[in-house]
């Protein structure tokens, strides 16, 4: 029996910032102090506070240590674990009550207070590589309930009543999707999980798989029971090595416990599960392309209908849901559809996980009830924008979504509201932008991504996105015309209407939404040949203010292309024909004499 549990985050974020080394050092230090029988090390999934990683929680005190280094570990062991003195200087500062100098419950810190963790409920709490820890928190109880007390129709009706909608982006009601597949004749049907998270900056699904892989497995078995399928596939990208490893371990343990395989829990129901690795093509997140890829063919979409529920994987009825959708299901079964429907807005029930990134203090993973406003997410949970800058826009939905400008800062986030303002929920990437971000450049970034990732099967997407990208490139180089803006809109309309799959149908969204809300920035690029945010290099010029320049020569020495000349103690000048606009001189100047505009 251990007297203390040390939870170390083993998500990808904290692993990148060195949590494996922390764990190794901790194990060695515990051994050196003879504490290895008294203190347990638990490697968990993502806590969400990636910005402050590597993070560590010591129970029973609940001390939340952030940005831990291997050198700090020695102190944590000798002070906290051996002598019971909490290492104050390492505590996550928001978790300390300033008045009483005591540790607050994590739920009361600004980052966690407004969150409601349903899909992420076990992330950062259990060791995902030990099935017993999942079972301890009611794991596989929902499966037990489904197999012993419910008919397949009961399961589907429960989901319908809960109002759960697909978390992959489009928001199709999950129960309805299942009912389509359930009425198809058997016996061969399939259950698939889309873990091909491809939006730049999104890592919700990865975090669920890394932190709580069994929840996906449990939900997929339930799905199999509901529609009458006996085989499932999890399609996960090979670029998620930790997630893949934990999934494999989890599937192995579930089989060992008889929770996968023949006659599960003595019910007579059989279900098996396999992993298929994707090579990282964005289009394989599209359902028909994903299934084609599972079949071993080149991952390209095909026209719908027939929808997968009628004719899917290997031509058989198939349901395909996203990781986060599955992660909600066992809780809905156990706590009832009314509980789930009590959260959220009228048409969007439950919670949504967002990967919060960009210009925000608390970068990380957050789960909020639907209907939370963008302002609450950015200012309260995210801690606001660093360096006192002003909020300009938030990008949701990745390359398929759009930008939400400051005027909609107070909009409650749900599927329908986001669509109404020209964005979309998407899978949950949320990138915050401040006054230093150029909206034309952002649109160009996403277009560049879709041009790269278009599979090339249909012409509107293959050629149309390329043409749009070229126009955007022209604009950022100061060669655009006002007619180009009209052409962009026209092209966007045709690509949306005529593309084969969701990739092309949504690819113009970043351009359309920035044109809608930030047309003045486009005009500034086209008419004034100016980039208001100071991002587009071709439109910038660097100049030295002769009144402020002291002639210290520092900039001239740092300039990589020797574009700056002048004599000592005399004002210097920049040769515009040589300048590559790298900004090194601005960073070097101590007198603020250099400006860009």
């Amino acid at each position: 029996m251990y007297r203390a549990h040390v939870l170390i985050c083993g998500g990808t974020g904290c692993t990148s910032s060195g949590s494996q080394k922390i764990q190794d050092t901790l194990a060695a230090e515990l051994k050196a102090n003879g504490l290895e029988e008294e203190v347990a090390i638990v490697r968990t999934g993502c806590f969400g506070l990636c910005e402050n990683g590597p993070v560590m929680i010591v129970y029973p005190e609940g001390s939340f240590y952030s940005r831990v280094t291997p050198e700090d570990v020695k102190e944590i062991v000798s002070e906290h674990l051996l002598k019971g003195r909490i290492v104050q200087r390492l505590l996550y500062k928001d978790s300390v009550d300033a008045e009483s100098n005591t540790i607050k419950s994590l739920d009361n810190t600004p980052f966690y207070k407004k969150q409601k963790r349903v899909a992420l409920r076990n992330c950062g709490i259990i060791n995902p590589e030990i099935i017993d820890e999942y079972i301890a928190y009611d794991g596989y109880q929902a499966l037990g309930k489904v197999l012993t007390e419910m008919t397949p129709d009961d399961v589907i009706n429960t989901l319908k009543a809960s109002g759960l909608r697909g978390r992959g982006g489009a928001g199709f009601p999950t129960g309805v999707k299942w009912s389509f597949a359930a009425v198809q004749p058997g016996p061969e049907k399939y259950v698939c999980c889309n873990a091909d998270e491809g939006d730049p900056g999104a890592f919700m699904d990865r975090s669920v798989l890394e932190g709580d892989p069994h929840v996906v497995i449990e939900a997929m078995i339930i799905a199999g029971y509901a529609i009458g399928a006996h085989q499932g596939y999890i399609y996960v990208r090979a670029e998620y090595p930790i997630a893949v490893k934990r999934l494999k371990i989890a599937i192995g343990q579930a089989k060992e416990y008889g929770l996968l395989g023949k006659d599960i829990l003595g019910s007579g129901f059989d279900f098996d599960l396999d992993i298929r690795l994707g090579a990282g093509a964005f289009v394989c997140g599209e359902e028909t392309a994903l299934m084609t890829s599972i079949e071993g063919k080149r991952g390209e979409p095909r026209p719908r209908p027939p929808f997968p529920a009628i004719k899917g994987l290997f031509g058989k009825p198939t349901i395909l849901n996203n990781v986060e959708t599955y992660a909600n299901i066992p809780q809905i079964i156990l706590k009832g559809p009314e509980w789930f429907a009590s959260m959220g807005t009228e048409k969007s029930k439950g919670t949504k996980v967002f990967a919060l990134g960009g210009k925000v203090k608390n970068t990380g993973l957050v789960e909020i009830p639907m209907g939370t406003t963008l302002r609450e997410i950015v200012e309260e949970i995210g801690g606001g924008i660093p360096n006192g800058k002003k909020f300009k826009a938030a990008q949701t939905g990745g390359p398929s979504g759009g930008c939400i400008p400051a005027e909609h800062f107070d909009i409650p986030i749900d599927y329908d509201n986001l669509i109404s303002i020209g964005s979309m929920m998407g899978s949950g990437g949320l990138i915050v932008m401040d006054e230093d971000n150029c909206m034309v450049d952002i649109a160009k970034f996403f277009l560049e991504f879709t041009v790269d990732e278009s599979c090339g099967k249909c012409t509107p997407c293959r050629i149309g996105t390329k043409r749009m990208y070229e126009i955007l490139d022209k604009i950022t180089k100061g060669q655009g015309t006002l007619e180009d803006l009209d052409k962009l809109e026209e092209l966007a309309k045709y690509i949306k209407a005529n593309s084969l799959c969701g990739l092309g149908q949504t690819a113009p969204n970043p351009v359309l939404s920035t044109l809608r809300y930030f047309r003045d920035e486009y005009i500034a690029h086209v008419v004034d040949k100016r980039c208001p945010a100071g991002v587009c290099k071709n439109l910038l010029s660097f100049t030295i203010d002769p009144d402020k320049c002291k002639g210290c020569t520092a900039c001239a020495r740092k300039c990589p292309v020797s574009a700056i000349s002048g004599t000592v103690k005399q004002p210097h000048v920049i040769d515009q024909s040589k300048c590559i606009k790298c900004g090194t001189c601005i960073d070097t100047c101590k007198f603020g004499a250099i400006s860009k505009k």
């Binding site: 029996m1 251990y2 007297r3 203390a4 549990h5 939870l7 008294e38 129970y59 029973p60 005190e61 609940g62 051996l82 002598k83 019971g84 003195r85 419950s105 994590l106 739920d107 709490i125 259990i126 017993d132 820890e133 079972i135 301890a136 928190y137 009611d138 794991g139 596989y140 109880q141 037990g144 197999l147 012993t148 416990y257 008889g258 929770l259 006659d263 829990l265 003595g266």
Partner: protein
């Protein structure tokens, strides 16, 4: 595993091992002084005895934790028991057997082991 009953049994067992990871402000807390003075006087076996006894009896809502120097070094090993809504009880000059008895008498049955308290130690002087 071939039945729901087996699954439930496993859950209850596993849950007991993980109880300490929950925030439970209403728990009864047993806090053992683990500063240098405490460790030198033998606080670690005392701490472990508390942990094991609580675990063995499957006591819910009891947290065993440690703290630094309480300030009464001549009485170490020291442990304090905080029960919600009650005055704290300070036990002194403990060993593993005494710790076990405190769990049985005080925590389980609600009878403070007066002879081990700091009051008794002071009176004996």
């Amino acid at each position: 595993m071939k039945s729901l009953a087996e699954l439930k049994a496993l859950r209850d067992k596993a849950r007991g091992d993980m109880g300490m990871r929950e925030d439970a402000p209403d728990n009864t807390r047993i806090v053992v002084g683990m500063a240098t003075c405490g460790i030198a006087a033998g606080a670690r076996p005392v701490l472990n005895a508390f942990v094991n006894e609580v675990a063995k009896r499957g006591l819910k809502n009891v947290t065993v934790s440690q703290t630094g120097c309480i300030g009464i070094c001549q009485f170490e090993p020291v442990a304090e028991v905080f029960e919600p809504g009650k005055e704290k009880v300070t036990y002194v000059k403990l060993d593993a057997d005494k710790a076990q008895k405190i769990v049985v008498d005080h925590i389980v049955n609600g009878n403070v082991v007066t002879e081990y308290t700091i009051g008794a130690a002071n009176a004996a002087k």
